[in-house]
Symmetry: C2
Subunit: 368 residues, 2 copies
C-alpha cells in the first residue's frame, strides 16, 4: 500500500496517515518546503534535514530549463544532485508554463512557451513532463494539467478539465518508472466542473489526488468550500494534496476537511519580504516598533533561532544582511513544521477541533 490511514479525528475529517515512497515513509499531514530549482530559497537541504522535513516539492518546468532534466539524469538524479535522500514530489510544470510565460500557446498536444530565463521557445507535452519527472527521479509525480487562470469563464474551465482528462490519460500511459503518479482535480470555482474533473481522475485511477487551481485569488470561503466538496468525494484510502496551500489558517482548515499534503511558498517568500511567523501571529520586521526590541524571536530553547531577538533580526534585515533572510526563513519553516506536528498530535489525541480553536485564537489575536 502506498498510503494507510492511522488516525481519524472524531469531530472532523482530519486524519493522520502513512505515505510510503521509494525514499521513505512520511507521516501525514505533511508540509513540503518548496525547492523549485533544487534548493529551498534562503536555506540549504541540510537545513531542511535539521528542521525534520521528510519531503520537498521540486519543479519540472524550472529544472527542465536549468540545468536540464537530461543533465540531472546523467548526474544521477535530483536526490543525488540536491544531496537529499528523503522524498521528492515534482510538480509537472502545467501551472508554471502559464504563470511564468504569459505568451504560452496551448493545444491538445501540449504547451509551447518562451523560457523565462532566455526567451528560447520550448514545448512541453504530457509525455515530456513525465519524462522530465522520471529523469529527475521523482518519488511522486504530478500529471501534466491544463491550469487556466482563476478568473477564467465557464467555457474555458470546461475546456481545461476535458483537456486535463486527456493529458492525465497520456501522463499515466507515459510512466515507465515505479514513481507514484497523482491526478489533479481542476474545475476552477465551478462546482459541477470540479465534480466532473474529479470523476475523470477517479476513472483513470491514480496513486493520489491533488486539488489544483486553489489559492489563486478565489477567496478563502471558496477555497474551503471547494476543498470540502472534493475531499468528500475522494476515496478515503488515497492521499490528498492541496497544491500551493497555504497560509497557516488555510492548512488547518484544509486538514479539517481531509487534506493530507501541502506545499506553499508563503513561509519562505514572506521571510524574504520581512514577515516572521510566530505563535502570536505574523510580525512585519520592517515595522519600526521592533527597532532594537530585545524580545526573543522564540523563547523555546529548541528553536533553531533561539537567542536571537526581533530587534537583532530587524537590524540585519534593514542592513540587507543575507543572514536576516536565512534566519527568518529558518524561523518560518520551523513554525510550519511545529504547526504540522501539533496538528498530527491533536488528531492522534482526538482533539483537533480544540487545537484549531486554541491555535487560531492566539495566532489571529491582533498582530495578524
Amino acid at each position: 500500500m502506498t498510503f494507510s490511514l492511522k488516525n481519524k479525528d472524531p469531530k472532523s475529517e482530519a486524519r493522520v496517515g502513512l505515505l510510503a515512497t521509494k525514499s521513505g515513509e512520511i507521516e501525514t499531514p505533511v508540509f513540503m518546503p518548496v525547492c523549485t530549482k533544487g534548493t529551498p530559497k534562503g536555506l540549504s537541504t541540510n537545513n531542511l534535514k535539521d528542521l525534520g522535513f521528510d519531503m520537498v516539492v521540486a519543479n519540472a518546468y524550472h529544472l527542465f530549463l536549468k540545468p536540464g532534466h537530461v543533465n540531472v539524469k546523467d548526474y544521477g538524479g535530483l536526490h543525488s544532485f540536491m544531496d537529499w535522500d528523503r522524498s521528492i514530489l515534482t510538480d509537472s510544470g502545467g501551472f508554471q508554463v502559464y504563470s511564468l510565460s504569459p505568451s504560452a500557446k496551448i493545444s491538445d498536444d501540449g504547451v509551447s512557451f518562451k523560457s523565462f530565463l532566455d526567451g528560447s521557445v520550448n514545448f512541453i507535452s504530457p509525455e515530456l513532463s513525465i519524462e522530465i519527472q522520471e529523469y529527475l527521479g521523482s518519488d511522486i509525480m504530478m500529471i501534466f494539467d491544463d491550469c487556466p487562470k482563476p478568473d477564467s469563464d465557464y467555457s474555458r474551465v470546461l475546456e481545461s478539465i476535458n483537456r486535463t482528462k486527456e493529458w492525465a490519460n497520456r501522463s499515466k500511459k507515459a510512466r515507465k518508472s515505479d514513481s507514484k503518479l497523482f491526478g489533479i482535480v481542476q474545475g476552477g470555482i465551478y462546482e459541477d466542473l470540479r465534480k466532473t474533473s474529479l470523476d475523470h481522475m477517479l476513472e483513470i485511477d491514480f496513486d493520489g489526488y491533488a486539488i489544483g487551481g486553489l489559492g489563486l485569488g478565489e477567496g478563502q470561503d471558496k477555497t474551503y468550500n471547494i476543498t470540502e466538496q472534493v475531499c468528500t468525494m475522494l476515496p478515503k484510502d488515497k492521499p490528498r494534496y492541496s497544491m500551493g496551500i497555504g497560509k497557516p489558517e488555510d492548512i488547518i482548515n484544509s486538514v479539517e476537511r481531509g487534506v493530507d499534503i501541502f506545499d506553499c511558498v508563503v513561509p519562505t517568500r514572506n521571510a524574504r519580504n520581512g514577515t516572521l511567523y510566530t505563535k502570536d501571529g505574523k510580525i512585519n520586521i520592517k515595522n519600526s516598533t521592533y527597532n532594537m526590541s530585545d524580545k526573543l524571536i522564540d523563547d523555546d530553547p529548541n528553536h533553531p533561532c533561539f537567542g536571537y531577538s526581533i530587534g537583532y533580526i530587524r537590524h540585519l534585515y534593514t542592513s540587507k544582511e543575507i543572514s536576516a533572510l536565512s534566519l527568518m526563513t529558518m524561523n518560518n519553516l520551523y513554525f510550519y513544521k511545529q504547526l504540522i506536528e501539533s496538528i498530527k498530535k491533536s488528531i492522534k489525541d482526538g482533539k483537533f477541533i480544540d487545537f484549531k480553536r486554541n491555535f487560531l485564537e492566539r495566532y489571529q489575536n491582533e498582530s495578524n
Copy 2:
C-alpha cells in the same frame, strides 16, 4: 597575564599562544571572521559557533552609524545583541572613515565625515571611538589611528604616525573599562617611519600591537618585509595582530614571521564573488568547467558542506540562490579554520616549515 606563549617553532618565528579576554581564552594563531555590522556576511553567529571560531571582529564605525552605539549599550551590549558569548575585537573606525568617506576631513581633534548610509555629517575623535567600543562591550579595542592611503608620500605618512601617536595616547587615556586595548603601528612602506611608529606604541604601552596599513596594494614582498621588520622589534610576550591579512598564503607567511591574530574579508567576500577555497587551490565556480561536476566540494565527512558537489553549488550560484552564498561562505570559513588548526598543530609538532611547504605546494599547484 593577557597573553602567554605556549609553543615556538624551532625554525621560524611561528608561535602558539593563549590570549585571555573577559569572554574567554583563545589559542593563537587565531583568525577572526569579519562581523562588520554584527553578523558574518552570508551566515549567522550560530554558524560561527558551529564552525568553532572563538573571536570575531566588529566595526565601531559601522555600528556607530547603525544601529548606534548608545542603542547597543542600552540593549545590553554587542555580545547580547549578536547572541555571541565568545570574544569580540572591535576596530576603531580609523580605517573606515577614510575608505568609506572620500570627503573625510582630518584634524588633530579627529575626523569629520559623511555617513555612507545617509550622507549625514559625523565626527569621530579618539575619545568617541573608545566610547563606541566600550559601549559595544568590546573584549579587545583598537586605538583610533590616522590611516593614510597606501600610496601616500613620505610627508603624509610622517604626519600620520605623529598624529597616531597623539591619538594613541588619547585613546588610552579615554579607556574607562577593563577591555584590552591594542596599539597600531603605522608608517606605510617606509621602514624608518615603521620603526618610529613602533617606538611610539611601545612607549605608550598596550596590551597588544597591531600592524596597520598592510594588504592595501603595497605588494606581497613589502607586506612580508614590513611584517618581519615590525615583529622582530615587538616584545615577545604581547600578542601581534596583522590587520586585514589575509589570503591563505599571507596568513602562513605572517605566522612564520611571528603574527598571532588575523582578520580578513577574503573568505566571505570571495564566496559571494564565486570563489571556493579548497586544499587544491581556489575554484572559480563561474567557470563552465564545473558545470554539473559531481566532484564533492570536499570529501571529508566532517566538512559542513559534505555531500554537495561543485556542480550543484555552481547551479545554485548561477541560479542566484541565497543557499549558494551561504554554502560557499561556510566552505571558505571552514577552510580558514582548518588552515589555522593545521598551523597550530604544525607549530606544536615543531614542523611549521614542513607544513608551509606541503600546504603551499598543493594549494598553489595549478588552480590558483
